[in-house]
């Protein structure tokens, strides 16, 4: 379980993802951009939720963003346990097409026990987000 403790670097985040079964199931990856984690979800068939368009499942987009927010908080706080989601609200702005999806997180407010995180997801054009979400977390 040490993979989920004391997260400081992007490599630590990659190890944390590998230790979270659902994050591995979606296929989440992370790299550094401008000194912050950039989360991305390489496209794979099993994340499809509409076979006609085809499009990513809305739950995949939501689950990816929620995971990203948890991981971003762990990185920001240097991993003092796994934050617990209290509520999650997502606006779907465009179809999540059958291609890679990216996410950046912003901690809007972090108190002693509660954090508010904003997540933005996009595909090939950052100015045309696929979804935006916000969530509250109970800090461990």
């Amino acid at each position: 379980m040490s993979a989920l403790a004391n997260i400081q670097t992007i490599d630590d985040l990659s190890r944390a993802i590998a230790a979270i079964p659902y994050a591995s199931l979606l296929g989440i990856e992370v790299r550094e951009e401008d000194g912050e984690p950039l989360f991305y979800l390489p496209f794979k068939d099993k994340n499809i939720g509409n076979t006609i368009l085809p499009a990513l499942h809305g739950g995949v987009i939501g689950g990816f963003l929620e995971n990203a927010a948890v991981l971003h908080l762990m990185w920001q706080r240097e991993g003092e346990g796994i934050p617990r989601v209290i509520d999650f609200s997502i606006d779907y702005l465009r179809t999540g097409r059958a291609q890679d999806l990216y996410c950046r997180c912003e901690i809007v407010r972090q108190g002693k026990r509660i954090a508010n995180v904003l997540m933005t997801a996009w595909q090939d054009d950052r100015s045309k987000p696929v979804a935006q979400a916000r969530a509250h977390f109970l800090l461990a």
């Binding site: 379980m1 989920l4 230790a19 979270i20 079964p21 659902y22 994050a23 591995s24 199931l25 979606l26 068939d45 099993k46 994340n47 499809i48 939720g49 509409n50 076979t51 006609i52 368009l53 499009a55 990513l56 499942h57 809305g58 739950g59 995949v60 987009i61 939501g62 689950g63 990816f64 929620e66 995971n67 948890v70 796994i82 617990r84 989601v85 209290i86 509520d87 999650f88 609200s89 997502i90 606006d91 779907y92 702005l93 465009r94 179809t95 999540g96």
Partner: protein, 162 residues
Amino acid sequence: MNGLWLPVEEPVFFEQLQQWFMNLPHCRELGMEFANAERGRITLKLPFSDKLIGNPHTRVIHGGVVTSLIDTASGTAIYSLLRAPEPVATLDLRIDYLRPARPDLPVYCTAECYRLTDHVAFTRATAYQDDPEKPVAHGVATFARGMEPKGSTGIASTGETA
């Protein structure tokens, strides 16, 4: 909606539709199963599986799994009120996580479409385990009807089901 039962609006269509939903790649990946339907209200079942875990210390499933279940159940519920295929797109979804799901037990989700207009469907959903009085999560969502989906749960034609 009160508690009085009515059949789904168009049983043959709905049966094709729910099979289409349950066969979507990501629904199969998570292991979702159709459980029950009536007019305006449906229930899905998600058996426990280790691959759904979000916290390896506690073995609690990830919130994102519950998000997928609520999104799918809410979208499916709309079609229990429809007579024919049409695209539906999730506009927004808000979930309150009331308590952690207990490991090794299935999660059920009952969703209802409590208001359907020409352009918008309004849904609410409850995810629970063996005690419906102790729900795991509540979700409310809105969907746009009759347009190319922006979100996930659109369907253009059941004739193209897998």
